[in-house]
């Protein structure tokens, strides 16, 4: 994680696999990243951190979880990103990028969103910084995530439906890249995770690493020690890299990226469907959305449709740096299935009074594995809150037999 000039590669991963029309913008961004983010030119990082504090609510606490600690017979601490403005870690990145766009003299931002979490965070940041914002969102996702669409509009953003293909996240990313390619001179593309071409993976990690920066300090204060292990769910991997970054050099700290195992790790090659989103655990190397990384792809290299009970993890790729750290043995890639994640969702809600995002619930589900190597002190990143997931939880819980879940009869069919 050294913050000196580097070529955008993490081993063989990373790079800049983008249409030529975008290359100048990417070079401009690389330059801005180096100047403003890495070298704090014009006090960019100071302003960013100040806004994160005042507008975003940082620092978020690291909380000792009494009842989980009892259950697992180890000390469990929670890094409470669910308390960040907007309800997830996403704002760390969105605010950083929108502010950077301002420093770069851009007059407009675009962003993609799947379930709407990154879109809402970007819309909030854009309103706060008075920056016109358009968010691309697949039409199917728009219909599934209407409250998030509404929130973006309330913040003054435009939401552009993407109708091509299946109308989900992947198509929205393509469409946003196309907009960027068209309006590259005055527009910045606020990507939603540690994915895409360099410098996005490194830059998004740097914006998110405030998570581990704080948590490391807070663990020292509260536990008097660094954790033996850090758990974070991994979709694209931004909360993951954010929670890991400052611990990477601490050899005694095991890092666990918990992926969405979906319904099964088996892949339907024929249908081109992976009923999971476990790119690190089951994917292979390839090129997607501008970077070489681990992917869910069929033998030909076509990207597979991924699946997860949590839409924020439902992505066929993963950040290149995370892929690299897993290959290097620094990060352990593990996964839990939909059932385990839902059960963990209910458990955390009941035991700790924290209703987590379904994404986040994956990290907690891995506590059940009772993995020896988790050690005595575990830090779990609560990447977001679950308010956005209540409808899904009703639907998905009703389909399963989760003994700790409350009676769902009164909620059959949603609200």
């Amino acid at each position: 994680m050294s913050k000196t000039r580097f070529d955008g590669k993490f081993g063989d991963y990373g790079g800049q696999y983008v249409p030529e029309a975008l290359m100048p913008a990417i070079e401009e961004l690389e330059d801005a990243y180096e100047r403003y983010v890495l070298a704090n030119e014009d006090g960019f990082m100071d302003e960013f951190r100040e806004r994160l504090a005042d507008f975003g609510g940082r620092p978020t606490p690291t909380q000792y979880a009494e009842r989980l600690s009892e259950r697992y017979d180890r000390d469990v601490y929670l890094k409470r990103e669910d308390l960040l403005h907007g309800g997830a870690h996403k704002l760390n990145n969105a605010l950083g990028q929108v502010l950077l766009a301002k420093y770069m003299g851009k007059e407009r931002i675009v962003a993609e969103t799947g379930a709407g979490q990154h879109g809402t965070a970007t819309a909030m940041a854009a309103a706060h910084l008075d920056m016109p914002c358009e968010v691309y969102m697949g039409e199917r996702d728009i219909n599934r995530q209407r409250p998030n669409v509404f929130r973006m509009k309330l913040n003054g953003s435009e939401v552009n439906p993407v109708t091509v293909g299946r109308g989900t996240l992947k198509e929205a990313i393509s469409e946003t890249m196309r907009d960027w390619a068209t309006n590259v001179e005055d527009t910045h593309y606020v990507i939603g995770s540690v994915v895409g071409p360099h410098p996005f993976p490194a830059m998004v990690r740097d914006f998110q690493s405030v998570i581990s920066e704080e948590a490391r300090e807070q663990m020292r204060e509260k536990a008097g020690t660094l954790p033996d292990s850090v758990l974070a769910c991994a979709g694209g991997g931004s909360n993951t890299m954010g929670a890991f970054a400052e611990f990477v050099d601490d050899d005694g700290v095991e890092l666990y990226a918990v992926e969405a195992g979906g319904s099964t790790l088996d892949v339907d090659e024929e249908a081109g469907v992976a009923p999971n989103s476990a790119s690190l655990s089951t994917g292979s190397e390839g090129v997607l959305h501008g970077a070489r990384t681990k992917l869910l792809q069929d033998r030909d290299g076509q990207i597979m449709e991924s699946h997860s009970v949590s839409s924020g993890l439902d992505y066929a790729g993963v950040g290149p740096e995370l892929a690299y750290l897993v290959d290097e043995g620094r990060v352990r890639a593990v996964n839990v299935d939909d059932d385990a994640a839902l059960t963990a969702f209910h458990r955390l809600s009941q035991l700790e009074g924290v209703i987590p995002a379904l994404e986040t619930a994956h990290a907690f589900a891995y506590l059940e594995a009772n993995d020896e190597e988790l050690g005595d002190t575990v830090l779990v990143n609560v990447s977001g809150r679950g308010d956005k997931d209540l409808e899904s939880v009703i639907e998905e819980t009703a389909q399963r037999d989760i003994d700790i879940a409350p009676d769902m009869d009164a909620f059959a069919g949603g609200f």
Partner: protein, 280 residues
């Protein structure tokens, strides 16, 4: 390091380079469509091998990609497609890097290029592969004697332009403007500037993005292009035929007619280029 076939295709100075997605909307019709393009005057044909995430394409071609993939197109089928084609003009495969990279057992682009060479393809356009990442593919192309076409955008200047022009062979794909839609007027504007920047380089310049009519073609060639690349305007015809349930022969005829309009336009443009000074 140019392949003689592509050199020849651009020799007359007004090459017409149409694009279609192979297998759109189905294998058999698509064969007929590609052959119709040759009849209509194509000098080179860009054949799209569809990738599931076509980040560089506008909606028209994205939909073509979806149709083709739903019709069962795969890299293996693509090669069968090329084999089944009865055309004499050079074929350039347009696809995304991941498909090239994953082909065959050995990892890296070599097996794909080898297979392409075997089937007589002349080169590649890979829109998501910038010059910086192109070395492995470049090397395989050199090994098998294929060309590697690069796209130059209106925003490509200075160092980047240098780096690309060092790698390019066959022809350079001059992107007429940013994005996928817009009025013809500013197209000409940006095109002229691009052609200007490229004038020092001795490689054919084919201009694409947004060319839809013989008139457009005429003006582009008149403006100094060595050829025109036309995709969406042709894919539109395929899409419309598919939606209306027209039979393949009818659609093929329309494609041939459109191709001729474009080729004729290009030639008119060329004809007007030399005497341009005299006209005033």
């Amino acid at each position: 390091m140019s392949n003689p076939e592509l050199d020849a295709a651009f020799a007359d100075g007004a090459a017409f380079v149409p694009y279609l997605a192979a297998g759109d909307p189905d294998f058999e019709s698509s064969i007929e469509y590609v052959e119709a393009l040759e009849r209509g005057g194509a000098d080179v044909i860009e054949l799209g091998l569809p990738f599931s995430e076509p980040i560089a394409e506008g909606p028209t071609i994205q939909e073509a990609v979806v149709r083709s993939l739903e019709g069962g197109m795969t890299p293996a089928r693509f090669f069968e497609f090329v084999e089944a084609l009865d055309v004499d003009v050079p074929l350039v495969c347009m696809t995304y890097y991941n498909l090239i990279y994953q082909y065959g057992d050995e990892s890296g682009p070599r097996p794909f290029v080898e297979k392409a060479a075997e089937l007589g393809l002349s080169g590649f356009v890979v829109p998501d592969l910038p010059a910086e990442e192109a070395d492995p593919l470049r090397e395989a192309c050199d090994e098998f004697g294929l060309d590697l076409v690069f796209i130059v955008a209106p925003t490509t200047r200075g160092d980047r332009l240098e780096r690309i022009m060092e790698q390019v062979s066959g022809y350079v794909y001059v992107q007429a403007r940013l994005g996928v839609t817009g009025a013809q007027d500013d197209v000409s504007g940006q095109t002229a500037a691009s052609l200007d920047r490229l004038s020092a380089y001795d490689v054919p310049k084919a201009v694409g993005f947004g060319i839809k009519t013989g008139d457009h073609a005429e003006r582009i060639v008149e403006g100094g292009a060595d050829g025109i690349i036309v995709g969406s305007a042709l894919v539109d015809i395929v899409a419309e035929g598919h939606e209306n349930g027209d039979d393949a022969a009818t659609v093929a005829a329309r494609l041939e007619e459109k191709a001729r309009e474009l080729k004729d336009g290009a030639e008119r443009g060329l004809a007007q280029r030399a005497p341009q000074a005299e006209r005033t």
